[in-house]
């Protein structure tokens, strides 16, 4: 139980970033977002739908994305999400933070060879 929890926490912050990145390419609905993240990460990051929709709700509440009802590829009604200007700024912030973290972790894992 505890393990899953920590995993979810870490993933929550990164999930927000991944969603924003996916929407940077253009509006999409929930199903597509999950699909894209899964395919781009070569099925390493499989988004649980239980966390996707709460994350979308949270992002929308913070004003980083907005939503509208539209028609999907196969002519079905679906809720589309779009990145806002603030969202775009937030994406840059999160991305740079992520890169800093990754670099730091790598430096620890592979001690500097000088």
């Amino acid at each position: 139980m505890a393990n899953r929890a920590t995993q979810t926490e870490i993933l929550q912050g990164t999930l927000d970033m991944l969603i924003l990145r996916t929407l940077a390419a253009g509006p999409a609905h929930g199903h597509t977002i999950a699909h894209v993240i899964g395919r781009r990460s070569e099925e390493v990051l499989l988004v649980e739908h239980g966390s996707l929709y709460p994350a979308l709700h949270r992002l929308e509440d913070r004003g980083w994305i907005t939503s509208f009802w539209g028609t999907s590829e196969n002519n079905r009604k679906a809720r589309y999400y779009r990145l806002t200007a603030t969202g775009r700024k937030q994406l840059n912030v999160e991305t740079s933070r992520w890169e800093r973290v990754v670099r730091a972790v790598n430096q620890v894992l592979r001690p500097a060879q000088s």
Binding site: H29, H49, G50, Y53, P54, H57, S72, R76, A78
Partner: protein, 884 residues
């Protein structure tokens, strides 16, 4: 957590559900495209998504304000529980409604009398200018009058501390003429009165500066109430006129409904402007001066300025016709500013302490009711042990349970308070009605303003905590294992629960004792006042007030005319005796003069009476003689004095023949009176208070020449008959004379309204408290019996007799009672000081009253505990032991 999301959480839930549904549809069609059958496609899609309810729940939770949600849950649960136990709910809500309602009603009255500001613009700026210490009996003082007209004129000329000043005085107006004349509550006002107060006219225009001119005044303004009731609400035009005090006045306008004047508890009917007579009286203190403080000026600054200006003002308005030392006293008067945002009020002065005391009493009754409720809830909690144990076992936090129980009691308190506020409207109106008497109608607008609501809310909260806390703590602190094992029988943890109940019963008994003692004290006090012998006749006396302005009697003949009127009344059949007096006794009015007799100096009350006065009022003559026809206007001035006079000024020497000299006053030149008789002490203006030195002089020698007189009529016939006969006789012989009748005893009793109210209400609440306390005692003793059933069964099985069982239970009860009484006896002695001024004829530590109250409580307690005790003695030992 955002409020925006909270209020629209249902909307969002629907949106997200639709979104989830649309996702599943898309996935399903994708799966069909991949080649699955429609059924498989859908189940695969659902499986891939996971649990939609969980997702919806998580989103919903993100949208809620969690604590608000759970409190709403608690409230719903509590409401459901109450509906399942309607009996308990009714009892609880009813007792709460009564308790909180009574408290709120009293507070509402207090609010109206003392706390509320006048319905004018910026009432907090208002201040009243008064003489420090009052006029100290100097001159003629009218009700609410603080200064004279000349003083007012000086203030009006120069008032640096005030941006606006205005003056007013209370007076009774006669409206209409002859036998149609009706009395109206009037005020005389200065030109700036309405403008300074910011009162806008409801119709027409209100009085302005130019309405003040040489006498007689010609304009007037009526109040909204008077306009509606006595003038039919007809539109005001230049022809609208009223005959006021014998002069025609044009009614220029009507004041708005909320404005009732400056006196809280009284409504004015007509306002007329001051007029400028040829000469202004310098010793008539009938004017109240008020003003708005200038911005930046405080009361202290204003008082300082007034004090500095006083000397000049007093010298400019110096009184004449008095002795030198009296004039000196006048010159040393100092003026100061006092807060006036709540107006002035005789009602307030009379009832202030009574109302606070009543509030304390109702508060205590509420405490007793709460203790009963707490016991009730404790009993209920024991039946819910199982439920609570299950919840605890399932993982509920104790705090959560505690909060839920507290919410339940708060729910009860809230409903009770809501009903109570409604009840209070009704109760407070009844209270106000009971304060009114025939002569003095009390007019107070009762409104539920924010102060009253705040008070009710505060009381309700306190109540909820009081009776909800103990059961909540006890219930949520239960050990679930023990509770589930012995659930339903309620014998577990018996001692803990019992000790709280014992404490509460002891508290109830002690508070009941305090309230009973208080009630008895007030009832006996009232009885003392009603049966008190003031030294003069109360029964069978009718008062006739006559006004003969229209008779146009010459000043020199006024006393003669008065004598004629007395003779006329005396000759009416059925009248045993009649006499005139310049001051009706026991009516609050007083009149006195400074005198010098021998080397002694001081004041004495002065009353001018016709010869039959002492006989009419049943006052015996102790020495010397009463007045007769020889004591006419031209003869030597004579006087009859009372024993206090002799004690104070003559040190017990023989008074007959001694001469006293009065100091001069305008209209009352210095006169030498020879004492010819002595009467015993009687009460003067009030049933309470001591007897002053009193001097009686013959009516034929009365210097006062106003066209009125008061005649006291003694008759064996019923008052209605007497009034009718006298009225008809006067109408026949002097039709232009205006008459007003009062039954003397009723008039005296009407002044006891406050005492009657206190006796009634404290008696009511005392009884209520005792009843509630006894219910509490009964409940606890019953509980003791139930919890000790096993023990009783064993005792009976081992051979104890019924009497022994009863005795055992009664001893328990007796112990509780004794402790409660002991505490209760100590309390009144501490709290009694506040009530001392209201009692009459007994001290607050009166032992007889205490003993009676204790006796009463012991008596009812014996009954209350005997019933369960007897039930205990009937316990079948086999039953008791088997159900253990």
């Amino acid at each position: 957590m955002s409020w925006r999301r909270f209020v629209r959480r249902t909307y969002w839930d629907v949106e997200r559900s639709r979104e989830i549904d649309s996702y599943i549809e898309i996935e399903t069609s994708d799966n069909i495209a991949r080649g699955m059958t429609p059924a498989d496609a859908e189940s695969a899609a659902r499986r891939k998504f996971g649990n939609p309810s969980l997702v919806r729940e998580e989103i919903y939770r993100m949208n809620t304000v969690s604590w608000l949600e759970s409190i709403a849950q608690d409230v719903r649960y509590g409401a459901r529980l109450l509906m399942m136990n309607p009996g308990f709910a009714c009892v609880a809500i009813l007792s709460l409604a009564l308790g909180i309602g009574a408290n709120t009603a009293i507070f509402q009255l207090l609010d109206a009398v003392r706390l509320r500001s006048l319905p004018i613009v910026n009432p907090h700026e208002l201040a009243e200018i008064k003489i420090i210490g009052g006029s100290r009996g100097l001159g003629v003082n009218e009700e609410y009058g603080e200064v004279t007209r000349p003083i007012w004129q000086e203030i009006r000329r120069d008032h640096p501390a005030f941006s606006d000043v205005f003056a007013w005085g209370k007076q009774q107006f006669g409206v209409g003429e002859g036998s149609d004349m009706q009395l109206a509550n009037g005020i005389l006002v200065s030109g700036d009165f309405f403008r300074s107060l910011g009162v806008e006219p409801w119709r027409g225009r209100l009085l302005a500066g130019y309405d003040e001119h040489a006498c007689p005044e010609t304009t007037a303004v009526v109040s909204h109430a008077y306009w509606q009731s006595k003038m039919g609400g007809r539109e005001i035009d230049p022809d609208t006129k009223l005959l006021i005090n014998g002069e025609l006045h044009q009614i220029t306008g009507v004041t708005p409904p909320p404005f009732f004047g400056m006196v809280v508890g009284e409504h004015f009917d007509i306002a007329i402007p001051y007029c400028e007579p040829r000469e202004l009286s310098r010793n008539l203190f009938a004017v109240s001066v008020m003003g708005r403080l200038r911005p930046g000026w405080t009361l202290e600054n204003a008082s300082a300025q007034l004090s500095a200006a006083s000397s000049a003002i007093m010298t400019a308005t110096e009184i004449t016709g008095y002795a030198a030392n009296t004039i000196e006293k006048y010159r040393n008067f100092r003026l100061a500013a006092y807060p006036a945002s709540a107006g002035v009020s005789r009602l307030r002065n009379t009832y202030d302490s009574a109302l606070w005391l009543l509030l304390a009493i109702t508060g205590l009754v509420l405490v007793i009711a709460c203790a009963n409720l707490a016991n009730l809830m404790l009993a209920r909690a024991s039946t819910r042990e199982r439920e609570i144990a299950v919840r605890l076992a399932l993982g509920a936090a104790r705090i959560r349970l505690f909060r839920q129980l507290l919410v339940e009691s708060s729910l009860l308190a809230a409903i009770g308070a809501g009903l109570g506020v409604g009840l209070a409207q009704w109760l407070s109106r009844i209270l106000v009605l009971s304060l009114s008497t025939e002569n003095d109608a009390v007019m107070l607008a009762m409104s539920t303003d924010w102060r009253v609501l705040l008070f009710a809310t505060g009381v309700a909260t306190l109540t909820a905590i009081l009776f909800g806390m103990a059961p909540a703590i006890r219930a949520s602190g239960a050990d679930p294992v023990i509770a589930m094992k012995t659930a339903g029988r309620g014998i577990s943890a018996g001692h803990g629960r019992l000790s709280i109940q014992r404490v509460m019963v002891v508290t109830q008994i002690s508070v009941s004792l305090v309230l009973l003692v208080g009630a008895l004290l007030f009832v006996r006090s009232f009885h003392n006042l009603m049966t008190f012998d003031p030294g003069l006749r109360k029964k069978g006396i009718t008062l006739v007030n006559l006004g003969f302005r229209k008779s146009n009697i010459l000043r020199e003949r006024v006393n003669e005319f008065r004598r004629e009127l007395v003779e006329e009344v005396r000759s009416v059949s059925g009248v045993r005796s009649a006499a005139s007096t310049s001051m009706v006794p026991l009516n609050g009015g007083s009149w006195g003069h400074n005198i010098r007799i021998g080397v002694a100096e001081g004041t004495s009350a002065f009353t001018w009476v016709s010869p039959a006065y002492f006989e009419t009022m049943g006052i015996p003559l102790l020495a010397g003689r009463s007045f007769n026809e020889k004591d006419s206007g031209a003869a030597q001035r004579v006087a009859v004095v009372n024993q206090t006079f002799i004690r104070r000024y003559l040190k017990g020497a023989n008074p007959i023949g001694q001469i006293m000299q009065t100091q001069p006053e305008p209209g009352y030149p210095s006169t030498a009176y020879q004492i010819v008789g002595v009467i015993p002490d009687t009460k003067y203006d009030n049933l309470r208070g001591g007897t002053p030195a009193m001097t009686f002089a013959p009516a034929a020698q009365f210097p006062g020449t106003g066209p009125w007189t008061s005649i006291l009529v003694y008759s064996d016939q019923p008052p209605a008959v007497v009034i009718d006969s006298v009225k008809r006789r006067i109408a026949k012989t002097h039709p232009e004379v205006v008459t007003q009748f009062r039954i003397f005893e009723t008039q005296i009793n009407d002044r006891l309204v406050r005492e009657r109210l206190m006796a009634l209400l404290s008696g009511l609440f005392g009884v209520l408290a005792a009843v509630l306390g006894m219910i509490g005692l009964y409940g606890v003793i019953s509980y003791i019996v139930t919890s000790r059933r096993n023990e009783i069964g064993i005792r009976v099985a081992l051979g104890a007799s019924r009497a022994e069982v009863v005795g055992m239970i009664m001893r328990e009860a007796g112990l509780l009672l004794a402790v409660g009484l002991a505490i209760g006896t100590a309390l009144p002695l501490a709290a009694s000081r506040g009530a001392r001024t209201m009692l009459f004829g007994l001290k607050s530590s009166d032992p007889l009253t205490l003993a009676t109250a204790i006796g009463l409580l012991v008596g009812i307690s014996a009954v209350a505990s005997f019933v369960p005790a007897r039930r205990a003695s009937k316990v079948d030992p086999m039953d008791a032991l088997r159900s253990a």
